[in-house]
Amino acid sequence: MGKVILEVKNLKTKYVTRFGENVYAVDGVSFKIEEGKSLGIAGESGCGKSTLALSLMGYYFPPLHYMSGDIIIDGKNISGMNPDEVRKTILGTEIAYIPQAAMNALNPTQKIIRFIEDVVHAHDPKADKKVIREIAEKRFAELGLPAKVLDQHAVELSGGMKQRTVIAVSTILNPKVLIADEPSSALDVTSQKMVIKMMRELMDKGYIKAMVFITHELPLLYNVTDDIMVMYAGQIVERGTAKEMVFDPTHPYSHGLMGSILVPEEGTRGHKLTAIPGTPPNLKHPPDGCRFADRCKYAAPECRYYTIPEKEFGDNRMYRCLKSLDELKEVYDHE
């Protein structure tokens, strides 16, 4: 087993709404990523993927609150650190986060080089602008981005170029972990490929050591990440290698998810996609039993009474369902 770069243990975080209600969006998440590996996260819209990503930075501000659990980056536990310290010593160097739709959030009146200065100055307020530009020019050249982009504004860049720029800017300080939330969903395939290639390059060159990739585009996830986790209603319901997850999913929700993959390959048109009617539980009061029970075709009465534990199996795989692997295999085989 390689060196563990990011380890998360039983992380719980919540939103407190303007009415003072708690929304338990990340509810007991654990996983590890080794050096040189990437982890994909998929799951229904609203299941807590972005919240998990945000929580991993250890940088909390209302309405998001840390409750419990550990985030350990390269041996250093960053959970419970105060926000100022996190901003100075963690963000950008230990971990970098590219939020969903980040490319549309760039301040349009600011030149790209200013964003890079901001990132560097947050870490080292005295850094010299000339030095920063040199570093930026070198990195942009390595990643195939034209140097002139540094002096352009976000509005002047195409969607694909903007997204690649955002990634280059966020990783300028060589963070150990890069978290990218839907970095390519708004892009067409040509730009998507470039974004992915660039993220690989960052990894190959050792500028980043591990990556978390969130998307609802499963074929992309399958081709880009080593492992995949599926999230449902604030919890991880299954984890495995990308191949295992796509070709041999065990949890009924991941089974449904993988059954709805759309690709332009012969035969896919003749099969009905797996549709799962219904909606996930309200995260303000998640049920005690299985959170998927209301929508699960295989639910039994006992599924609603027990807290469903994570069950480890195989080579570092995990699923969260009361039924045994054999029982699940049996029902899937008969469909």
Binding site: G46, G160, K197, V246, L262, P264
Partner: protein, 285 residues
């Protein structure tokens, strides 16, 4: 998992015409700034046909859909409605045209007044379809049903504003409207781009079912070629404002003729074929 499916591959060549275009062109700007967004396209979309228009960013898909909707004037060419030249020259004629046509826009938040509560969006649809005087329980029942088609819970939406929904939830709400409005023509511009795979499957199947029930013509704009393959009867491939290829979904996707179509198909990540990044050159533009 692999329940068989009746594949939509009806022959539409002799079906009644719905929307057609003859040499439609749209030019933005002048001189140096001139962009030919739609370049001399001709097409026939038939009643009840599920048409997908596939192309990369900037190929002109949204521009064409706005022309079809009558929100944008084309520079040249002609749009036909049910085989006759479309006339939307007066407000009255335009309203008549709009009666049977509904659109779902690319950005779900832009198309919708953010100061209206969610339930009023759905209520308006019922009222528009002549359900104004129905008892409230009946209306709630209809709205609940429409929401369930798109995996939303009506009870959890009431009293909310659009900014309190995620992008995927907002897109699903826009599609729930279609179930209440049952238009003759639906123009949908990337309507499920933010929806997760499972909910998307539910929605697509429901759309197909609705199409079969009421004979709706659906013009579906997307850059997802796998999605277009799964759902459409006919696929049009658009590049730089032109249709470079069109035909039955099976023919276009499994046996593409145009180099551009071939490239689009080979570029998307698949699951039985390795995704080839070796040819990607980072230093372009």
């Amino acid at each position: 998992m692999s329940e068989d499916r009746i594949v939509p591959s009806k022959d539409f060549t002799n079906a009644p015409l719905c929307l057609s275009g003859r040499h439609v062109t749209k030019v933005f700007g002048f001189g140096d700034k001139k962009t030919i967004a739609v370049n001399d396209v001709s097409f026939d979309f038939h009643e009840g046909e599920f048409v997908s228009i596939v192309g990369e960013s900037g190929s002109g898909k949204t521009t064409l859909s706005k022309i079809l909707l009558g929100l944008l004037n084309h520079t040249e060419g002609e749009i036909l409605f049910q085989g006759q030249p479309r006339d939307i020259s007066t407000g009255k004629k335009r309203n008549a045209y709009w009666k049977g046509i509904q659109a779902i826009f690319q950005d779900p938040f832009s198309s919708y007044n953010s100061f209206h509560k969610i339930d009023s969006v759905l209520l308006d649809c019922i009222n528009m379809r002549g359900g104004k005087n129905l008892p409230m329980e009946k209306k709630v029942e209809m709205m609940t049903e429409a929401c369930s088609f798109v995996n939303l819970k009506f009870a959890e939406l009431t009293n909310k504003y659009p900014f309190e929904l995620s992008g995927g939830q907002m897109q699903r709400l826009m599609i729930a409207r279609i179930f209440l409005l049952k238009p003759k023509i639906l123009l949908a511009d990337e309507p499920t781009s933010m929806v997760d795979a499972c909910s998307r499957a539910t929605i697509l199947d429901m759309l197909l079912q609705l199409r079969d029930e009421i004979g709706m013509t659906i013009i579906f704009i997307t850059h997802d070629i796998g999605l277009a393959y799964y759902i459409s009867d006919t696929v049009y491939i658009m590049e730089h404002g032109k249709f470079v290829e069109y035909g039955k979904a099976d023919e276009v996707i499994l046996n593409p003729k145009a180099a551009y179509t071939k490239r689009l198909i080979s570029d998307v990540p698949k699951i039985h074929e390795e995704w080839d990044l070796s040819t990607v050159e980072l230093a372009t533009e």
